[in-house]
């Protein structure tokens, strides 16, 4: 892949903010930040860092990473951002070293002694500004983790860096505003969809499917004691009607009991991107709804980060190892198809189809083959991207950056550059991206890069191929 030209660089890194805002906030970053206290920032950063280290498990990882990091720069081959910019500051190891050096200087005995001896004043405001810019250039896709011989997880370091920054007020406004609506707003979800609108949408979808298929496909609401509580990314209710119709049709075909709860129907969890406190609060909302409706399992829709934050943090914050299982809708559909409870018409899709692995579900090796099996069952011409599966390349909108609309040029020119080349190389007419974030990013990506490819969800295509008894 060729790095971006100087001209493209100028466009991608152009700052959309007014100079006076940057001066007032003393923060030359491209994303909007709500006004916050800028006085005495280094001291408050260190306070927040100390508090985080005291109550969490990050100290273990930081201690270890500080000791083992060999600075070999091997991770540079894995990072799509570095591959696009060619800027040494975008190498994952360098990004992590921004935070690790603060840790070493202020929280290890050797660093404190060395600082005293050499008269090093310690953390500066410039370092905080650099971290604020750098940690949101990263898409937290964790691809570099597999290239680090020392096993340093730069995704974890980015996660922690953003968390500490958020505690002193530096977090993208887009994420904070959505979280505010989700946690204390009237509607209780990130897209601010009220319950009547939700019910309207679902009734409309049922009606359309009655017309298209001649089958009654209900969306059960508040069914007490249902098997599955269904939580898609809430934006699906507005933007991804096809995906939802596919989800409903699958349940109509299998006949399992499922429900959408009007108490809480949002799978999105931006806490995974910037704050552990938010992460926990949102996961607990899922728990409360599951308790209210006495469901047996939690089913997350087509969304990468929603699936990961529920699967890996629901046990951590709510019920431990023996709690309700969390599964993704693709796992459910695949299982039903394997058991013969869901029948699919072969060769329904004639055009070439390719599959994009969302980082959050593919990197841990969780969902890799299920969607591929399903696609091969319904597509006449399935083509694979390279690299794929656990080694896939991020769409360029990971880590919450896709929600930050003001950095779209950066996302489509830098973050998604590798992905755009990958998609073009397959020549596919449909690119299946079973993730709300990936879908939004990839649509903007193919639009800005003029690629003739339609971005769809897995259930959009399955919907066309389901055979009802």
């Amino acid at each position: 892949m060729q790095p971006i030209t100087i001209e493209e660089r100028g466009k991608a890194f152009a700052c959309p903010k007014k100079q006076e805002v940057i001066d007032r906030q003393r923060l030359p970053v491209r994303y909007h930040v709500e006004d916050f206290d800028v006085e005495d920032r280094p001291r408050r950063f260190l306070q927040a860092f100390a508090a985080v280290l005291k109550h969490t498990n990050y100290r273990l990882a930081l201690d270890h990473y500080v000791r083992v990091s060999a600075k070999c720069a091997r991770c540079s081959v894995a990072c799509q951002v570095y591959q696009a910019t060619g800027d040494p500051q975008d190498v994952p190891c360098f990004r992590s070293s921004l935070l690790l050096s603060v840790y070493r200087r202020h929280f290890t005995v050797a660093g404190i002694l060395r600082g005293r001896l050499l008269g090093d004043p310690g953390l500066t405001d410039e370092q905080i500004q650099q971290m604020a810019a750098s940690f949101y250039n990263c898409t937290a896709c964790r691809r570099c983790y597999f290239e680090c011989p020392m096993g340093v997880d730069h995704g974890l370091v980015t996660h922690l860096g953003r968390y500490v920054l958020s505690e002193i007020g530096i977090a993208p406004r887009a994420l904070v505003v959505s979280t505010r609506e989700q946690l204390i707003g009237k509607t209780g979800n990130t897209s601010a969809i009220p319950v009547p609108a939700l019910l309207d949408t679902l009734a409309f979808l049922t009606e359309s499917m009655q017309e298209e298929l001649g089958v009654d496909v209900p969306f059960p609401i508040d069914q007490d004691g249902a098997e599955y509580l269904f939580l898609p990314a809430v934006s699906d209710f507005m933007m991804e009607a096809d995906t939802l119709m596919g989800n409903g049709a699958v349940f109509r075909a299998t006949g399992d009991s499922w429900t959408i709860g009007t108490g809480y129907y949002d799978g999105i969890n931006y806490g995974l991107f910037y704050s552990d406190q938010v992460l926990e609060r949102v996961v607990k909302k899922i728990h409360a709804e599951a308790e209210r409706l006495h469901v047996k399992k939690i089913l997350i829709g087509e969304c990468g980060h929603a699936s990961r934050s529920a699967k890996y943090f629901y046990p951590a914050f709510c019920e431990g190892r023996n709690g309700r299982p969390v599964i993704n809708i693709m796992e459910y559909t695949h299982q039903a198809w394997k058991q013969g409870r869901l029948k699919l018409r072969p060769n329904t899709i004639a055009e070439p189809v390719t599959y994009h692995d969302p980082c959050n579900i593919s990197r841990p090796g969780w969902i890799l083959e299920q969607p591929r099996d399903l696609l091969k069952a319904i597509c006449a011409n399935y083509v694979e991207m390279t690299p794929n599966r656990r080694d896939n390349i991020c769409c360029g909108g990971g880590g919450g950056t896709v929600s930050i609309d003001e950095i779209r040029p950066y996302r489509t020119m830098v973050g998604g550059r590798a992905k755009a080349e990958q998609i073009s190389a397959t020549g596919a007419k449909y690119c299946v991206a079973p993730c709300a974030n990936c879908k939004k990013q990839l649509r903007e990506l193919v639009e800005d890069n003029h690629i003739d490819c339609q971005i769809v969800g897995l259930h959009d295509l399955l919907y066309k191929a389901i055979i009802f008894d």
């Binding site: 206290d37 990882a61 060999a70 505010r180 406190q277």
Partner: protein
């Protein structure tokens, strides 16, 4: 001079070697305690051990990984590490020294193999140093430590090889031997306190990372409470982080306290 060499590979070696073992024991113990503590603090005890084992094995024996990405660099790096581990432990002269000192030892590798490995290590080390010094990326990442270590690690190899092969005057031999022994002692002492600790820590990295992703419940709220913001989480609309909302308890020396005390008011009135 000879007595200095004897001191270096006798008592000093014993001290350096013990310090190394103790230091390694310390960091391994600290890491182990950290892992157990973190694991117990979390409710989520689900760890994909199979994946952890696979990842670890694939880095300890990077057979499959070698050719996938950056093949030249990977090969050179693996050769460098293989030489670093094998030659000091298994060269005939070292094995002999062990046998003399403690009465038992392990089989040595043939001298020819040791020679080849030494030359490869030296060449690979020089290559790695070049690879670090020339490209802009690795220069940006590197501090003094990154240049110091390859040189220090290669010093015992270069001197040891010269001593056992070149025809040297006794004085030159002694000087080189002195360098050989003391540089090796220095390496051993520094291992636990530097990035070379990865020789024992790298195999547990995957476990550390897996456990570090297990977040303890309630931690986020406790962090906010510690900072004095229990009632003002980051998502509140009138954020604590604007100047007017900073509670007095959270900021010991706030520029403008949220609730001005009477004393302050008196000061500001005139």
């Amino acid at each position: 001079m000879e007595s200095w060499v004897q001191f270096g590979r006798g008592p000093l070696f014993a001290v350096a070697f013990s310090l190394m073992l103790l230091g390694i024991f310390r960091i391994l113990l600290l890491t182990a305690i950290g892992i157990v503590e973190a694991y117990r603090r979390s409710w989520d005890r689900i760890i994909n051990w199979k994946d952890v084992r696979l990842q670890t094995a694939s880095w300890l024996f990077p057979v499959a990984r070698l050719w996938r990405k950056r093949p030249l660099y990977s090969t050179v790096s693996v050769l460098f590490h293989a030489g670093l581990i094998l030659v000091p432990l298994f060269s005939a002269a070292h094995v002999l020294l062990w046998r003399r000192a403690v009465g038992f030892a392990w089989p040595a590798i043939p001298q020819r193999l040791a020679d080849v490995l030494t030359i490869l290590t030296l060449a690979a080390g020089a290559g790695l140093l070049l690879g670090r010094a020339v490209p802009a990326v690795s220069r940006k990442l590197s501090g003094a430590q990154e240049y110091f270590w390859p040189v220090l690690l290669l010093a015992p190899f270069a001197t040891g090889f010269t001593c056992s092969h070149a025809t040297l005057s006794p004085r030159a031999y002694q000087e080189l031997m002195l360098l050989h022994v003391y540089s090796a002692d220095l390496v051993m002492v520094l291992i636990p306190f530097s990035k070379i600790a990865h020789c024992v820590l790298a195999p547990i990295s995957q476990v550390v990372t897996a456990v570090a992703w297990k977040f303890p419940p309630g931690a986020g709220d406790r962090v906010a409470a510690t900072l004095g913001y229990a009632d003002l989480p980051t998502w509140m609309p009138k954020s604590r982080l604007t100047k007017s909302a900073v509670p007095a308890a959270a900021a010991p020396a706030p520029a403008k306290p949220a609730v001005p005390k009477p004393v302050n008011q008196e000061v500001t009135v005139p």
